[in-house]
Amino acid sequence: MDFFERQEKARRHTAFLVVYFIVAIVLMIVAVYLVVALIFTGFELKNAEGDTSGAWSQIQVFIGSAFATLAVISLGSFFRTLALARGGRAVAEMLDGRLVNSNSTDPNERKLLNVVEEMAIASGVPVPQVYVMDGEAGINAFAAGHSASDAAISVTHGAMTMLTRDELQGVIAHEYSHLLNGDMKLNLRLMGLIFGILCLTVIGRILLRARGKNAAPFLALGLALIIIGWVGVLFGRLIQAAVSRQREFLADAAAVQFTRNPLGLAGALKKIGGVAEGSQLQSHRAEEASHLFFANGLKSELFGFATHPPLIERIRALDPSFDGKYPSVVLPDTPAAAAPPPLPGASPLVQPPPPPRAQPPPPPLPTAKPPPLPIVRPPPLPGAPTIVAQQAVIADIGQPRTEHLQYSIDLHQAVPPSIQTAAHDPLGAHALICAFLLADDAAVREKQLEELGRATSEAVRQETIRIWPDVQDIPPHARIPLVDLALPALRRLSPGQFEQFRGAVNKLIGSDSETDLFEFMLQKIVMRHLDTRFYPERRPVTQFYDLRPLVRDAGVLLSATAYAGADDATQAHAAFAKGAESLGQIARTEIPWLPPTECDLTHLDAALDRFAQSVPQIKKNVLTACAETVAFDALIQPREAELLRAIADALDCPIPPFLQA
């Protein structure tokens, strides 16, 4: 089962869920009607003995109570869903999470951030926001959000301090598999619906406060509403638990496949069994979100309502030799004991200083010089072209492997310290993205920097100039990972600063005399992921279920890709034909070959936006065609590879980095 099938399945699950909930709500309406009829019309019938309109008034009562119940549930769900529309952040903040500073120097926080960042690069998704629940001593974690770009990962203080790096990696990998399986959207929907039902009990409680001589029926109704509400919540819980349990095993399996280290995850689960607090949460809001968590977050759960499989079963699935004896866990005295070696960027300053910028040529100092970036795709040597099978490209989407994780760890360590520091700081990240868009030509660059200073501030201009020499040396394959790394820091810009940033990026792209496809895609990635933070209301909705209306957009995308990878028009057309052939068969119509003017960046932008609103299967077909076009000359250049990754990112299909064969 590949990424697209899993996404499709998650979508279908959501549909089932809605059916279950409709049944539950109908039952509740009937129950409310019966209670209302009993309490109120019971009284009225006594007054109007022999009235023949009894049946009619019963219908009115039924319609009235059905309407009221529906109104309460849907209003409640609507408001909760609205609150959750802000994505994972909303959930993390609801559960008293504290956002971890991306440039934190605390060893435990650094360890957590590094593990999350490595996972993000390995799976090709932007680094999510990381939260710590400071008040929680137990070991637990969750991931929430609608998509990869507004995801948040939150861990308890206990998990951050008590788990070793390997164990933490297992837990985070488990959360990433939820993220890549499309579970998170489903989970947020569930939260919205359950809250709606919960609202009935809130109304019941308000009615219980009724006073006065006619209060008796209201009190009775209030009590009944509370009972009905709780029964409804009970049903909701059953559905929630059923969905959740099945997905936990899946996520455990995926995490092991990802890290290839079952003992890390098993160790974390054993520690949960070993500590007094277990995986329990103190927050009173935890109940609503119990299905999001890594392990059972509630105090006690009856069978059928348990959102997670029993701990021991999960451990045995990972470590069959487990004897059921949990290790006793003592809180480490020195938090640094489990921490990884400090990040180069976070080291104290007065170590070997880098050479001053003013003196060319800069003499390299042994300790300040980072190890060279791992070369994924060495420049193609004659006779040894680099070939990426396009099947492998598609199969890897959303399914990072251990090799990707190792690659990501290497890359993470190879990034120069100055760039590391910059990527984790809002001003630095701002400057980093701008520096990526600067021209190589000194005169053009000078003009660009001037415009940058005008569009933003002197601070941004200075910082961009400062990091430019290091940015220049970053090979193409490391640029998208760096953008992913910089996103958490960029999310911390204030709305005003974000507007300046957006303006500056547009200016820098426009001022380039040539239209560079890669630069454009870079901008698209950054803006797409940041828009979910600054304009949460602009979320795309699935609109296209068939390839037919998108044929022209497919033409734009394939033609643009073909032009980007070919030297002349004939070669480009041949590359295009390769990709368009199979896609045309699927669409049962011809994909139009477009002249450069009709597949420029504006058209491309619109085409990508439309594809982003299509069902997973269409995305898969289009990506496959793009991969075929790119692979036409049997050689994927580093830039082409990154272009492919950028297109996939625009369609919400994270491709892990390409590895050396």
Partner: protein, 198 residues
């Protein structure tokens, strides 16, 4: 039937009220968290700055033997600012804490400016690579502070506006959402970061 209608009416009104109060309260909490978080960003950079300054003074000491007064003034101002920052970081937005850090930071910028001006007169010091690096690092940190300060002030403005407009202002009072204070560097002539020129 009338009882039923009025009952439904009461229920709906009650529901709207509850949802409104919850929504308004949550939005205020979110905005408050946002500016507190924004202060954390300043805090990181200020701490870095406070770590850099003693190193700078240590390096300059050998060259500026006759300028003890200035060096001591820098250290004193740095310590005062560090204390003020600890207080502000515990309670970001608090009026007195923010005023204290504002003036302490202004004072520190002032003496740092003097130190940089002084360094101009000592060619040997200017040629020292450690000194050059520290100065560059300090300028960069200075930029980051001003950038983070801008983000913090934006967040504070957002929060203050929300707690003053109708209908959220009805909630702000009873639930003790007080106004938050901006972080401004007070003296206009010291608004700029100390200039480093060689």
């Amino acid at each position: 039937m009338m009882i039923l209608l009025s009952c439904g009416f009461v229920v709906l009104i009650g529901l709207f009220l509850v949802i409104f109060v919850i929504g308004a309260y949550n939005s205020l909490v979110t905005l408050r968290n946002r500016y507190k978080n924004a202060y954390a960003q300043i805090d990181v950079q200020l701490k870095r700055r406070y770590d850099l300054i003693p190193n700078l003074v240590e390096t300059a000491k050998g060259y500026l033997a006759h300028e003890r007064g200035t060096l001591e003034a820098v250290i004193t101002a740095r310590n005062a600012a560090a204390t003020a920052n600890t207080r502000a970081a515990q309670n970001p937005g608090d009026a007195s804490a923010m005023k204290e850090i504002s003036s302490a930071e202004s004072a520190l910028s002032g003496v740092m400016g003097r130190l940089f001006a002084l360094a101009e007169a000592y060619p040997n010091l200017k040629a020292n690579t450690t000194m050059l690096n520290l100065m560059e690092e300090l300028t960069s940190t200075e930029n980051k502070v001003s950038f983070a300060r801008q983000a913090y002030n934006d967040a504070v403005m957002g929060y203050n506006t929300r707690r003053e407009v109708f209908p959220t202002n009805l909630i702000a009072g009873p639930f003790h959402f007080g106004p938050a204070e901006l972080f401004v560097i007070e003296k206009p002539e010291q608004k700029d970061a100390p200039k480093v020129s060689f």
